[in-house]
């Protein structure tokens, strides 16, 4: 299936679970990364997150209401009086006012924000920091979306259903798989200019993804069959103008998604207009591929 049309119903079950976990802030970081790549393009999941949010807000409403201390009320009023609103997003690091530090930093201190005296507050009460308690550290917003290209690759991998393995296997197994997938995703998210090329088998189904970055070539395998290393090897080829150049060999030792560094080339990777994978007898790459099992073109 392609990653563009949101799947429905049962096919989307694992993602429905991720959507609810996301709304609960109960996902592990690697799950958040994967789901963050999926969410912007999926109206179903955005709807699920919104619906879950309403249910959770109702759960919050079921708690016995707590009465804020006078100190908190005053702090809120005063802070609203002397804190500027911004028209756009808050700048990174601006999420916590100075006064959140224990003991209360001086208002209007070092941030370049106008001090309280420049804003008519209408509230004579001074800012009252909640002193002598551990302050909450500045919130690190974990939901930073990866860049679009990598997000697409991650979403494509997610759409392949490998994630279902995680959800349906036993816990230890699942943890190992999650860790392995996290390694793959982390590798994909490494900063730098990357070319991501999905490769498909003869039936059009995606079986592998080639990622090139800084002269390094990696293959994310998610559908190639396990090979017998004593008999055959996979060879990755770069193609340009019909000519194929062997870039490296690799073995598929597990049916699960895996990422391997296949080779490196100081120059020339940018010249390839496509990639192919062949299965070859022996351990060495021949001069030309004999049996291409997957291929894909560089699109840009």
């Amino acid at each position: 299936m392609s990653g563009s049309a949101p799947p429905r119903g049962e096919e989307h079950g694992a993602l429905d679970e991720l959507a609810v976990g996301w709304a609960l802030h109960a996902l592990e970081p690697e799950e958040e990364t994967l789901f963050a790549a999926h969410l912007p393009g999926c109206s179903r999941c955005r709807g699920t997150v919104a619906e879950t949010g309403e249910v959770l807000a109702a759960l919050a409403g079921a708690l016995p209401a707590a009465v804020p201390s006078d100190r908190l009320r005053e702090a809120l009023r005063a802070a609203a009086g002397d804190t500027m609103q911004v028209p756009g997003r808050p700048a990174p690091g601006a999420g916590v006012p100075d006064g959140a530090s224990p003991g209360g930093a001086s208002p209007g201190g070092d941030t370049g924000r106008p001090g309280p005296e420049t804003v008519p507050t209408g509230f004579p009460e001074p800012f009252v920091p909640v002193a002598g308690r551990p302050a909450v550290p500045p919130t690190a917003w974990r939901r930073v979306l990866p860049n679009a290209l990598v997000a697409t690759a991650v979403a494509a991998i997610l759409a392949l259903g490998t994630w279902n393995v995680v959800l349906s296997t036993a816990r230890d197994e699942a943890r190992a798989t999650v860790a392995r997938q996290a390694d793959v995703v982390n590798a994909l998210l490494t900063p730098g200019r990357a070319t991501v090329v999905p490769l498909s088998g003869d039936d059009g189904a995606p079986v592998a993804t080639v990622v090139t970055r800084n002269g390094e070539v990696q293959v994310v395998n998610h559908g190639l069959p396990v090979n017998d290393p004593g008999e055959v090897t996979y060879v990755l080829w770069g193609t340009s103008d019909g000519a194929a150049v062997a870039l490296g060999t690799f073995d598929v030792v597990s049916p699960r998604m895996d990422l391997q560094a296949v080779g490196s080339a100081a120059t020339g990777l940018d010249e390839h207009d496509g990639y192919g994978i062949s299965l070859e007898p022996g351990r060495l790459a021949p001069s030309a591929p004999t049996d291409i099992v997957a291929r894909g073109e560089v699109t840009n």
Partner: protein
């Protein structure tokens, strides 16, 4: 709430502040940290009310989401900050609390929560009120992770139907899915 509308901001504080604080205090051990969380969240709202997107739900759910996120981040940022499983939060506190239903009949949300199968209620409440990740819930309960995830989804789906929340285009409001039993 428009930018600069202090009256609207104070109304929001009045309308949702107590619930939001109750949520933060449920997740966190230390009331002072909970108040800090609440203050940060409301200040974020005050600074940038345009961050609210009506397409993503009600103001209430947006604010509660913000408070919950900050509360779980605070809980995960340091040991001893969150409640231990089974450690009941103060049901009536020194600063004074009142019943959620305002003295009317039984609160429908609590009724629906009580009606959930035990495993579902446990998984959902540990995750939401406890601030635990689903993997932590699995470790706490001894249930397989996959089961925790399906329990949480089933619980939310049941509550969504039970509370008559409107569909927003997601899996919970989709008729094809809603007709299925919770599991």
């Amino acid at each position: 709430m428009r930018a600069g509308d202090r009256g609207a901001f104070e109304e929001l504080c009045d309308r949702l502040g107590r619930r939001a604080l109750a949520l933060a205090r449920r997740v966190l051990v230390d009331d002072a940290v909970a108040e800090e969380v609440l203050r940060e969240a409301f200040l974020a709202v005050w600074r940038d009310p345009g961050a609210y997107d009506p397409a993503s739900g009600s103001v209430r759910s947006w604010l509660m989401d913000l408070v919950h996120l900050r509360a779980v981040e605070a809980a995960r940022s340091g040991p001893g900050r969150r409640r231990r499983p089974g450690e009941a939060p103060p049901l009536r506190a020194s600063s004074g609390e009142e019943g959620a239903a305002g003295g009317g009949g039984p609160d429908p949300v609590r009724v629906a929560l009580r009606a959930l199968p035990d495993a579902e209620r446990e998984a959902l409440t540990l995750a939401y009120y406890g601030g635990y990740t689903q993997r932590e819930v699995a470790a706490l309960t001894g249930a397989p992770l996959g089961e925790v995830k399906s329990c949480v989804l089933a619980a939310v789906r049941r509550l969504h139907g039970e509370l008559g929340a409107g569909p927003l285009g997601g899996a919970l409001g989709s008729p094809a899915v809603a007709e299925r039993p919770g599991r």
